[in-house]
Symmetry: D2
Subunit: 344 residues, 4 copies
């Protein structure tokens, strides 16, 4: 439920509406457009609140058909959010490209990958130190050592680092080294973890679960924001369908749909969707053309030797070619790639 | 199974290989690359054929891992096919846009739609005279009268006409008026119908079934080609998944995958995938960026009055804006939209 | 829309309501319960009809929330339908078992299979003479010769025959030999074919499409009934999902759901769902326990030599064991298998 | 990889094989059949291990095609496992029924539900104190207070208690009150949580993720067993598909398939699959007929007042009727329901 107030109303009038709602035991989030102040009632409102709010003199209108995710919704905040990761911005006119290996494997490989993606024009570095793996016997990541290597790679290249956190008890450790915390697909509905990353200040990259609906993704983002952290970037990475010719089915329509329903930046992971590097460039171009605010791409100096996801990782050369293609598509729709060393 | 022969071999040598295969009761299809003649054995080959072919002096190599769809496969025909519809070509450097109403409803509406899409730059006109509808009580199309109106719209605008045929016994009737026959999603595995359109000369627009895998789509195309008609254009139009926020889930990765596996042109239907006109432009741009050879888009002069699919039909103004967007994306990747009145 | 009239009202009063609706250009179907006459308005009613009907003195009540499939709905016909196939009844207290090979392959194999399933206690014989196959190069069935062999197997065993028809132009031919016409999964939305089997008198076995919703299945049945044939049996045979450990995912909940929404008999095909004979008995038992009115099962004298679906076909011995298991489950829920030579 | 040794071989010979594998840095799990000792190599074995093991004199045979989940596989342990929960056994001849409300709401309601399901013949009590909810604003459970109420209900009825744990840091707390720890669908791939419940001694009820394949479920169980806890019960609860007429699609074929591939007990949750109480009995009967070792069913004294899942909860009367139906189906296939107060 959103109460609309004329933006020119006095602060006192607005505060009165806030106090009224809070007096009912609910909380309120305020955002501003050019002409209106929007007071969103957080959570499930009692049925009589609608009429009571409408009766307040300062309230122009009450919108009851607002979606179940208040804080992430565009109804609540009409203009696009931008999320800063160190000196890189996600959202806005520029298209951000995050690249790097699936997992941090060893110092040499990671630094080689980091230099390669920096040279290719990436704005941020990705790499997993904690890997959620389907089998208990698969490589589970280097843990703290991996995080230290990521920090070293950041020093070496200047690229901010995004890496996955898989459990609430790891959040502090990962936050010590990372610039952005990734919530992976399998944890999109690990609600305790969502709250944990919501209670710390670093920005969050939230990947859609492979069988989660758009609405469930937005409600997962709401968990993070409701816990206090507004710095969320959504990521479409392919859903599970009957089609097995690709690893997942990239739901390209999620891009315009998420941007319609939410003010949060939306990026796309073409690597996990495709599952094969040959298909990644077409998906990357499509994502930018559809209006995505960025990409997250797997790149490995020697994909055939990767401990995981080698089949879908681009070579450094392939990444450089992709960046060239993305650049012209971005310009065609009036955007541009985040320039290396400029927005930073 | 494909037998590779040096292209410079004599016709006599090649004919000998053909006769050898045909002598085994199988048939053969020959295609040529710059350096090789490829003899594809059609259908399921007996297990001993591989060795027997390899032993023939003219045969350089026998490829056994060719896919189950021989005629449509790129293994058999490495270069892209182009399909001519009257004076418009699908495939090749230009991106073809087919547009028009879901169904032919009446003369005025159809002519209005046809003039609008022609003015907007469409290369072809779409419109259904026979409508496959989930309920027996829904509008089933105007039938022959609809076909006559389509022919009139072609006269009025110069645009070639594509329209759906739903049963083998209608093929002759529809072929009398149409320039291209559409096989709809629900009929993608109506094998008798596939053979019927394969036995006549007009080009065929084959839409992927909403439940069909990429391989099943290619095998459906193989039915048409095996019956004698090589003029097939494939169409991705969204698959059915757990996600219901959109009408279907556009499998954008089908575009590069189909073009990798097959030489046939591939177009995309963003309207049926999205189910809402607001989402159509993003999907259209994504399809072109992913490498599609064209689009088929629903446009209606008054969408809110349409008898079917009004919610997903663009207005004439919306279509014109979309064409502008498609044009710049096509140019960004080194292609261009089929220019009005030029390729025609 | 369904108008309810007191059953004791005079025929004249009832006829007046019928005439009123028909006078509006709509048609009507009447069914009777113990206390009510139900007049279903077929098709999409104009918005003002509700009030007009309510105003008629004979009308007790008008139900507007009836589903889009009038004739097949339980709202229209509260008691279970029974469908007779020669001297076997589907629906009612007895559980009917249809068995036989996937395809008619040759005389010896078919007669062997027919005698085996008759000995095992099957009530009907299945076997395909026209096979819809994904690849144009796979065995497509023996056609008319296969139908003749089925008729011979019926003579030899006394079992009525159900076989698939794949195109409207084949209906007359198949009807000449078969006792029940099967519409296969891939043709569930071949609306022309649905109408064609609706215009002839033999009972129809309608299989759910592998990606069709329950509502779409019921609307497909409505096509048959709207064309004049009320003798329809529905068949759940597994849907396509992300899980590939089985050929399809048997939607066991379709059984109680279809019986809740429709009066038509519902049978289950465990063979196509499982894809492996080892899993067929558990699915067969589950179907009977869930309330299915019968099963259709693939049985082959030598499954490893079958031209299609051998992997999922039971041996004669396996079928006999299954029948024993089904019998006790049926009795546990107050039903019994159709006894051999009794209901016939 | 599994090395087979004659069971009559000396302990010294067997120990030698174990030491050989452990000397390679791998671990080993031994199980016994009537005639063989099976030494399973845990995790991914190096490629040369196969030959090295085959060369050992005590080794009869090495099976390399064993599945990726060693400990849970039937290849490793041919006979059925039984899992004891206090004095109730899951697995074996008896069919166990777990029942209770979705969530612990308050003392009165819980005790009322517990007495009702005990009277109806349930063997165990279910109820959630920690509820994973899609929206941050939905009721999240009573936490510790809910656990205390569950313990009180156990005292009052004698029924062992199963309740969900949603985060590793809660395991100790929940284990203090519960008799069995439930891992919910959304946490099936919360690998840290799986390991945590694997490191404590209480039995674990592992629900299949709504998007998880059979193999992924078995690998999730392998996480628990690999961490040291062999007491795992698997639960099929419906998967997410395109069909929305039911809340989920119960994959009934998972029952025979899981029992073929694994020695662990398999139970079924018909409530979450159906989503409507009217459909629960048919699914429950089907599950028992398919060979499930038990059911977990939602029952609420006043479903229409439930804070969650009321629509799918049985009334006490409905539960009692269901138990009567399950009893006869179980007996039909040679099993019986766990008798109240007997196996306890």
């Amino acid at each position: 439920m959103i109460a609309v107030i004329d933006r020119d109303r006095s602060l006192k009038d607005k505060a009165e509406v806030v106090r009224f709602v809070e007096g009912r035991g609910l909380s309120v989030q305020v955002s501003e457009t050019a002409t209106e102040s929007l007071l969103a009632v957080i959570g499930e409102a009692p049925s009589d609140l609608f009429g009571a709010l409408e009766a307040l003199p300062a309230v122009l209108e009450v919108r009851r058909d607002s979606p179940p995710y208040t804080l992430v919704s565009r109804a609540h905040r009409p203009e696009d959010s931008r999320v800063r990761v160190r000196d890189v911005w996600a959202g806005g006119k520029e298209v951000v490209v995050i690249a790097g290996p699936c997992a941090v494997e060893d110092r040499t490989t990671l630094l080689s990958a980091a230099h390669a993606v920096a040279a290719g024009g990436a704005s941020m570095l990705r790499g997993g130190a904690f890997k959620p793996r389907t089998s208990p016997y698969s490589f589970q990541g280097l843990g703290r050592e991996g995080l230290e290597l990521l920090a070293e790679a950041r020093e070496a290249t200047g690229l901010p680092v995004v890496t996955e956190v898989v459990a609430p008890e790891d959040v502090d450790l990962v936050a010590e080294f990372a610039d952005m915390l990734q919530i992976g697909s399998r944890n999109m509905q690990n609600f305790r973890l969502l709250s944990a990353v919501g209670e710390q200040p670093l920005p969050v990259l939230l990947k859609r679960g492979m069988m989660a609906t758009i609405e469930e993704l937005l409600l997962a983002a709401e968990y993070v924001m409701a816990a206090g952290n507004p710095r969320v970037v959504l990521c479409e990475r392919g859903i599970r369908t009957f089609e097995r010719a690709t690893r997942n089915t990239l739901d390209i329509c999620a891009v315009p749909l998420l941007k319609e329903k939410s003010h949060l930046p939306v990026i796309v992971d073409p690597s996990h969707a495709a599952g094969r590097r040959e298909l990644v460039p077409a998906l990357g171009r499509a994502a930018v053309a559809a209006g995505a605010d960025g990409l997250i791409v797997e790149v490995h100096p020697e994909p055939e030797r990767a401990l995981s996801d080698g089949r879908q990782s681009l070579t450094p050369g392939g990444f450089e070619r992709l960046m060239g293609e993305l650049d012209v598509v971005a310009q065609a729709i009036g955007r541009r790639l985040t320039p290396a060393g400029v927005s930073r």
